[in-house]
C-alpha cells in the first residue's frame, strides 16, 4: 500500500507540473503579453517599458523556472492588473468557489441518487428512459446556456432570485443548480449500474425472501454497496466542478476564483492566472489521489494494477 501511494504521489506531482507548464506556455504564446497589458493603442515606448518591468524580454524557459521557483517558496508574485500581491487576492476568493463547488456536488448527488436508484429499480421501463433523458440533457446542455434558462425562469419571470452578484445565499442558488446539474449524469449512470449489479446479488435475493419491505431492501441493503464507487467519483468531480466554476461564476458575476480567473485571462495577468491554474490543478490532483487511495483501500485488487 505504501509503495502504491508513493507511486501515485509522484505521478500527481508530475501532472501538476505539466499542467502549470502547459498553462504557462499557452498564455505566453497567445500574443505578446506586453502589448496585451499595455492595451490597445499603447505606444512602442509604453510596451517596451512593460516588457522590461515584467521581464518578458527574457527566454520563456528562464521566465518559467523563475516563476516556479518563487511559487514553490510561497511567493505567488504581484498581480500585474490589480497591482496587489496575488496570494491574498486568490485566497480571498477561494472560499466562494469552494462553497459553490461543494454545494454543486451536494446538489448533483441529491438529484442523481434518487434518479439512479429509480432507473435501476425500474430498469428498461419508461422511468429508466426518462432518467436517461434527463442525464443526456444534463450532459448535452452547455452549462452557460442552462444558466441563462435558469435566469429567465427564476429572475425574470418569477423574480425570486437576483440575476447576479454575491453576498447572500440567494446568489448561490442558480450557480449551484447550473454547475451541479452538469455533474449529475456521471453519478446517475454509476449509481444505476451499481444498483443493477447489486440488486442481482444473492444477499439481496435473501433479503427479499426474508420478506423485508422493498424500500428497505433498496435503500439499506443495495444502495449502501452501490454507492461505494460514487465516493471516489465525488472527489474527482469536485475538482472538475471547481474548474468548471470559471464559466458559471463569470455568468453570475459571483465573486470567486473562477471570476478572478476569467478577469486575469482577459488582462493577461500572468502571476494570478498561473497561480490559479496551479492551485486548481493541485486541488484536482490531490482529490484524484485521495480517490485513488480510497479506491485502493476499498478494493485491494486495484493496488496491484
Amino acid at each position: 500500500m505504501g509503495g502504491y501511494i508513493l507511486k501515485r504521489l509522484g505521478l500527481a506531482i508530475a501532472v501538476a507540473l505539466a499542467v502549470s507548464m502547459i498553462a504557462f506556455l499557452l498564455l505566453r504564446l497567445s500574443g505578446d503579453p506586453a502589448i496585451a497589458i499595455a492595451g490597445e493603442g499603447a505606444r512602442s515606448e509604453d510596451i517596451e517599458l512593460i516588457r522590461q518591468t515584467y521581464g518578458f524580454d527574457r527566454p520563456l524557459p528562464v521566465q518559467y523556472v523563475e516563476w516556479l521557483g518563487k511559487t514553490l517558496r510561497g511567493d505567488f508574485g504581484e498581480s500585474i492588473y490589480f497591482k496587489t500581491a496575488a496570494a491574498p487576492l486568490i485566497f480571498a476568493k477561494l472560499e466562494t468557489t469552494m462553497v459553490l463547488g461543494l454545494l454543486a456536488l451536494a446538489f448533483a448527488l441529491a438529484i442523481s441518487i434518487p434518479l439512479g436508484v429509480m432507473a435501476a429499480v425500474y430498469r428498461n421501463s419508461w422511468i429508466d428512459r426518462l432518467c436517461l433523458a434527463l442525464a443526456v440533457l444534463g450532459q448535452a446542455l452547455p452549462n452557460f446556456f442552462f444558466a441563462l434558462l435558469l435566469i429567465m425562469l427564476f429572475s425574470i419571470s418569477l423574480r425570486w432570485l437576483p440575476v447576479s452578484g454575491s453576498g447572500t445565499w440567494q446568489h448561490f442558488v442558480m450557480p449551484t443548480i447550473a454547475l451541479g446539474y452538469y455533474a449529475a449524469p456521471a453519478f446517475m449512470r454509476l449509481i444505476r449500474a451499481g444498483m443493477i449489479e447489486v440488486l442481482e446479488a444473492d444477499y439481496i435475493r435473501t433479503a427479499r425472501a426474508k420478506g423485508l419491505p422493498a424500500s428497505k431492501v433498496i435503500f439499506k441493503h443495495a444502495l449502501r454497496n452501490a454507492v461505494v464507487p460514487v465516493v471516489a467519483l465525488a472527489a474527482v468531480q469536485l475538482g472538475f466542478l471547481l474548474g468548471g466554476s470559471v464559466v458559471i461564476e463569470t455568468i453570475f458575476a459571483l465573486d470567486g476564483l473562477g471570476y478572478l480567473a476569467y478577469q486575469s485571462i482577459t488582462f493577461k495577468d500572468f502571476p494570478v492566472m498561473q497561480s490559479i491554474v496551479l492551485l486548481l490543478s493541485v486541488i484536482y490532483v490531490v482529490l484524484t489521489l485521495a480517490s485513488d487511495i480510497a479506491n485502493a483501500w476499498l478494493d485491494p485488487r486495484i493496488r496491484v494494477a
Binding site: D32, F82, F145, I151, I156, A253, Q263
Partner: protein, 513 residues
C-alpha cells in the same frame, strides 16, 4: 474554440428571443429610483481607480465623476471651458499659464490650489512613476507655481493638443494626500474634487459613488442630482441584459445592436444610441514585404474600397448613430476633414474593372485580420468576395493581431481606433501614418505633413497640414476609411440620461423622471 463561440452566439440569440417573449408580462421593478441609486453594470473592472493607472473605459468614466480636470470640453458645443482653472493663456510655444478656481475642496477636506496642480503634473510626468498610458502625460515638461492660484505648465516640445489632454485624462489629485499615500493608496481610498466621492470599493467587484454635497458651483459640471451610483462588474453581457430585464440594474452600455433592438421592445426599458469617437477602418499593407503584393498596386487598393458597401453595412449591421467616413479620423477632431479628398463610392463593377486592369480579372486570395465586431468583418469579406477577392478571416486577440501587423504578416486588417477620446487629429492619424511601427504604408510625404501639423501651435498651419495629409492618404487609397462606431445604452425608462461621442457617462447630469 471558434465553433464554440459561434455556437454560443447562436444560443445567445435564441435566449435573447425567449427573454423578449417572456418579459412582456413582467412588471418593472423600480428599486433604483426608490432608493435614489443608479445601478450601473459594466463588463470589466479597472485595474486601479486612480485614473493615471488604468487604460480602460470604465476608468475614464469613474475618473470624470470622482475627479476634475483643469479644463473640460463641452460635448455639445465642442468648446473648451475652465473647470478647476478659470482661465488660461498661451505664453509662448511651450508655455501655458492657468488661473485656478478658488474655494474648491477635495473629498477629504484638503484645499485645492496651485500645489495640487504642480504636485500632480510633476508626479505623473516623471517616467519613474510609471503612469500606465505614457502618451497622456509624457508631453509635460513641468508645472510651476506662480502664486497660490496661478500655475505655469511647460511642454517638452511644441504640443498643440495640450489643452485637449488637460481636458481629458489628466485629472488633478490632492497634493498632500497623494504625496502621503501614492497611487496605491489613491486606489484603495480615492480622493478627488468631483461631483461624486467613492464610499466603497471592492477591487474587481463593485464601486459605490455617493453625491459630493460640497461640489463647487458655477463650473461646467453641475453638482450631482442623484444621491448614489452603484457600479457592479458583470463580465457576461447576457447577464447584464438579464439584470436590466429583471430590474436589477438601471443602466448598461456597449450593448450589441441585436440585443438593443430586442430591449427596445421592453416596456420598462429605453434604448439610447449615440455616435462615438471610435472609428473603424481597414489597413492595407503596401510595404515591400507585404504578404499580399497585389496591394502595392493603387488600382487594387481602390478596387477594395469600391467593393465595400459601407452605406448598407452601416444601416443594417453597425446601427443607429454610425456614419460612413471618407477619411481615417473622427469628424469632430481638430484637423479632421474629408474636404478635397478622393471618394470611392460603392461600385462593384468598377472594382472588378480596376482589378482586371491590375492583372487580377479573377480576383485573388488573401487574409483579413480582425479582433472585434466580427459581424462587420464578415460583411466586408462578403463584399470582397463579390468582386472576386477571397479573404480568409483570421480572428484573434488584439495582442496577437498587433504582433502579426508589426511582423509584416497581415495584409488586410480590420481595425478600430478610439483616439483616447482626444478631440485632435494628432491622436489618430500619426499612429497609422507617422512612420512608427503601426504604419504599413510609410509614405514619406504624408509623414512630413503630419510632422508639420503636430509641431505647430498655429491652428491654420495645422489644419492645412492635416488636410493635405488626409487628402494624400485618400488619393493614394492607402487605407479604407469605413465608419464610426455607435454605442448602445439600455437604461430604465425612469432614468434621464444622454449619450455622448466621448463615451463618457455623466452620472452627475442624470435625473429620475
Amino acid at each position: 474554440m471558434e465553433t464554440r463561440t459561434h455556437a454560443r452566439t447562436g444560443l445567445n440569440l435564441i435566449a435573447g428571443a425567449l427573454i423578449t417573449a417572456l418579459l412582456t408580462a413582467a412588471g418593472p421593478a423600480l428599486a433604483g429610483k426608490k432608493d435614489d441609486t443608479i445601478r450601473f453594470a459594466y463588463d470589466q473592472a479597472p485595474e486601479s481607480v486612480d485614473p493615471f493607472f488604468n487604460n480602460v473605459r470604465i476608468g475614464v468614466i469613474i475618473g470624470h465623476n470622482v475627479w476634475d480636470t483643469l479644463v473640460t470640453l463641452d460635448p455639445k458645443t465642442n468648446q473648451y471651458k475652465g473647470n478647476l482653472a478659470t482661465s488660461w493663456k498661451q505664453i509662448d510655444d511651450k508655455t501655458i499659464e492657468f488661473d485656478l478656481r478658488e474655494g474648491v475642496k477635495f473629498h477629504n477636506g484638503e484645499e485645492f490650489d496651485a500645489d495640487s496642480v504642480v504636485y500632480t503634473l510633476n508626479f505623473v510626468a516623471d517616467p519613474a512613476n510609471k503612469v500606465t498610458t505614457q502618451a497622456n502625460v509624457n508631453w509635460i515638461d513641468k508645472a510651476t507655481k506662480l502664486s497660490k492660484y496661478k500655475v505655469r505648465v511647460t511642454t517638452k516640445q511644441v504640443f498643440p493638443a495640450a489643452i485637449e489632454y488637460l481636458a481629458g485624462p489628466v485629472v488633478i489629485h490632492p497634493a498632500k494626500y497623494y504625496a502621503e499615500v501614492g497611487p496605491k493608496g489613491m486606489n484603495a481610498k480615492p480622493v478627488g474634487t468631483g461631483p461624486f466621492r467613492v464610499t466603497n470599493y471592492v477591487p474587481g467587484k463593485s464601486i459605490t459613488l455617493e453625491r459630493n454635497a460640497d461640489y463647487f458651483k458655477g463650473g461646467p459640471k453641475t453638482p450631482a442630482r442623484i444621491a448614489k451610483v452603484d457600479v457592479r462588474f458583470i463580465p457576461d453581457r447576457q447577464t447584464q441584459m438579464a439584470e436590466m430585464l429583471s430590474g436589477g440594474a438601471d443602466l448598461i452600455m456597449h450593448v450589441p445592436k441585436d440585443q438593443a433592438d430586442q430591449a427596445a421592445k421592453v416596456p420598462h426599458l429605453q434604448v439610447v444610441s449615440g455616435e462615438t469617437m471610435r472609428i473603424v477602418f481597414m489597413q492595407m499593407n503596401s510595404l515591400d514585404n507585404t504578404p499580399a503584393p497585389q496591394l502595392k498596386d493603387p488600382r487594387v487598393r481602390k478596387a477594395i474600397i469600391h467593393a465595400i458597401d459601407r452605406e448598407s453595412i452601416v444601416k443594417n449591421i453597425v446601427g443607429a448613430g454610425s456614419r460612413v467616413l471618407h477619411t481615417q479620423c473622427f469628424p469632430s477632431q481638430f484637423g479632421c476633414t474629408d474636404e478635397g479628398a478622393a471618394r470611392y463610392p460603392y461600385d462593384p463593377a468598377l472594382a472588378k474593372k480596376l482589378l482586371a486592369e491590375a492583372g487580377h480579372p479573377n480576383g485573388f486570395e488573401t487574409e483579413i485580420f480582425a479582433y472585434r465586431e466580427r459581424n462587420q468583418t464578415e460583411a466586408i469579406i462578403n463584399n470582397l468576395q463579390q468582386v472576386g477577392i477571397k479573404a480568409k478571416l483570421n480572428f484573434s486577440q488584439y495582442a496577437a493581431m498587433r504582433d502579426a501587423i508589426r511582423a509584416g504578416k497581415a495584409s488586410l486588417t480590420h481595425q478600430t481606433w478610439g483616439s483616447f477620446s482626444v478631440n485632435d487629429v494628432s491622436a489618430s492619424i500619426p499612429v497609422w501614418f507617422g512612420g512608427e511601427s503601426d504604419d504599413v504604408t510609410r509614405d514619406k510625404e504624408v509623414q512630413e505633413l503630419l510632422k508639420k501639423g503636430n509641431n505647430s501651435v498655429d491652428p491654420k498651419v495645422r489644419q492645412q497640414a492635416y488636410r493635405d495629409a488626409l487628402k494624400r492618404i485618400a488619393d493614394n487609397a492607402w487605407s479604407v476609411p469605413l465608419w464610426s462606431l455607435p454605442v448602445y445604452y439600455v437604461g430604465s425608462k425612469e432614468l434621464n440620461f444622454a449619450a455622448y461621442p466621448d463615451e463618457q457617462v455623466r452620472f452627475w447630469e442624470m435625473t429620475w423622471k
